[in-house]
């Protein structure tokens, strides 16, 4: 496991990496363990010094910190700031870290007290509006997806280790879907954000006949106006489109503005 690494004859250092989680399902970290065929090779590429979900040993110095999850409580800001201080490179791992993820759906309600009451009644619980990491600390690199795609993580980590630039595709999922020779889901009556969502997942959902819900956020130059127009022609309601645009927070700048027009608390209780 610890023979010297080299790339094209140039010796490389194994970076010390740590995995951390804020508010999340911890699924993205699990994805790291989920590629059994290449797991041991992947582990050979780095030195894992912190991975609470998988190991007991912990260290506070690391070159790369992978942070999963979004910030939903004040103590998480402190933890995140500490991680940022200890890490040379901070990577936002998955949609929750990049955009707030599904956790952000609670921001639809203006009244956080209603949100707390709906789940916990009168029992006191601490929470705040959901934020992505970049609202509090500089993020060096984002790995998109809910969940992240392991092959993509492996490629990105390899690039980091050998010192290559990391690039994300600028084109949308639609391109990958076409390349996979899928029937367009619009033709099958299934709403899909493929035309506006950043590629890199190899059209994971559409290739399984499930429309894209935009977990990777917008492609460069995503034309939402045109998407809405096309989806309306295929008979999809505004609500159906909005459900998808707001699901993972990647299109928040658009979906939040639509929601704020009818942002309300259920049972007619509005906050003044």
């Amino acid at each position: 496991m610890s023979e010297p690494l080299s790339y094209l004859g140039v010796p490389l250092t194994r970076p010390k990496v740590g995995f951390f989680e804020l508010s999340s399902c911890e699924g993205c970290q699990l994805q790291i363990l989920n590629n059994e065929a290449t797991l041991l090779d992947f582990l050979n590429l780095v030195e894992i010094v912190n991975f609470r979900e998988g190991m007991t040993e912990r260290a506070d110095t690391y070159d790369i910190a992978f942070v999963e999850g979004s910030v939903t409580r004040k103590d998480e800001i402190v933890r995140l700031t500490d991680i940022r201080k200890n890490a040379k490179i901070l990577v936002a791992l998955g949609s929750c870290a990049c955009f707030g993820g599904v956790n952000r759906l609670k921001n639809r309600f203006r009244d956080l007290d209603w949100v707390k009451k709906e789940v916990y009644g009168d029992f006191p619980v601490d929470t705040m509006e959901t934020h992505p990491l970049e609202d509090f600390v500089p993020v060096d690199l984002s790995i998109f997806g809910c969940p992240i795609k392991k092959e993509e993580v492996e490629r990105i980590v390899t690039d980091l280790v050998v010192g290559k630039m990391v690039h994300h595709p600028e084109y949308p999922v639609c391109m990958e879907c076409k390349a996979n020779q899928n029937i367009c889901l619009f033709e099958l009556g299934e709403p899909c954000l493929g035309p506006v969502t950043r590629a890199g997942c190899d059209a994971w959902c559409p290739s399984n006949r499930r429309g894209c819900w935009g977990c990777r956020g917008p492609a460069e130059g995503a034309n939402l106006k045109q998407l809405k127009k096309i989806m309306h022609t295929y008979g999809f309601s505004g609500e159906t489109i909005l459900d998808r645009l707001e699901c993972f927070g990647g299109f928040a700048s658009f979906s939040d503005s639509v929601r704020s027009q009818n942002k309300k608390t259920p049972a007619g209780r509005k906050k003044s």
């Binding site: 804020l22 699924g27 699990l30 998988g54 190991m55 259920p266």
Partner: protein, 424 residues
Amino acid sequence: MKISCEVDVHHLTRVEGHGNIKISIKNGSVKKAQWEVVETPRFFEAMLVGKHWENAPYICGRICGICSIGHTLASIRAVENGFGIIPTAQTTHLRLLLKHMETLQSHILHLYFLAAPDFLGVGSVLPLAKTHPDVVQRALRLKLLANDACDIIGGRRLHPTRTVVGGFTMLPEKRQLEKIRQRLISSVPDLLASADLFKTFDIPDFSRETEFVSLKGDTDYPFIGGRLVSTDGVLKKEQQYRSMTNEYCKTGFTSKLSKLSRPSFAVGALARLNNNFPLLHPTAQEVSKSLGLVPVNHNPYMCNVAQLVECVHVVFDSVQLIDTLLANPWQEPRQPVQAKKGEGVGAVEVPRGILYHYYKFDSHGKVIKADCVIPTSQNHANILHDIEALASQYAGTGKQDREIELLAEMLVRAYDPCISCSVH
């Protein structure tokens, strides 16, 4: 002799989510024995309010990164029960097969990556790759098989894509199922080798009389839907899940807790096995007996063994399910869905125990109320009482702090807690 002890484990490792253990023993008597859950709540039940029904399984699957398939299936079942949809035999078989493969994947992950390092005296699975390469390779083979099967049936091992209300968006190819069938059959020696490995483990000798809650099987070992049962003799319908879980809040826990006939109860592989032992596949029953596990067993550390027994069961049962699927021509993957006003409950046995999703819909099929009761939240109170009993048992025995700490950590790990899931 040492009769005082301080244990303070902040953010226990090798479990999903954030929990703390605190034990304080002074002069042989227990001053403090605590299990705390500090995970941040995400408020899924509030998120769903106002959302159209099709969002529910998609969003709720994200409650958990380990048992996302179980959450998705429980959510789908709740919606289908709410709308009066009865899944076809094909869908039922495929869902159960998918569920089995998640059970296998999750149990193997827990047994080899999270639990085994304690029994082998290391901090993680990483050093085992060097010292026990055959063990690690075996674990990876089994996990890969389960995950590949989840990809083929559910579209994706984590946060499945093909599972929808009414059925599946698309079906696996039959030759893919045939391959999985072959791999399942050839995995049996790996499972028996796993059993041999666990026979060498020194399972701590600790028992506390506990009420065990699970689904009750009628003709098959239960996983999806059915009646609810407890070893204290409670028997209820799926729709009555609230009176089976009796959730309440408690200081020190951001998760809710549950109780039934006693101050706490346990769910999970050991509970399922204790309630349904005769319905296990005969080979699984043999493995269970060979590891000293017969119902009703009250040693929480035996949950590890129960998981292993279930791995054997699901592998044999999956082969039968695939045979049934292969014997029939494919039908339509998905039936149409007609939303209506009403409410529905879905109870599913996920790896860590019985999971309930409940939704109430308005006439447009929008969620007006949601409730999810998670296995680990049902276990928290029992973990707490176990830690108290464990501390008492060892208070005057002169064990070192680190020994008691390890026993307490192993106890919590035996429940395979999914803490972020329990808080959701």
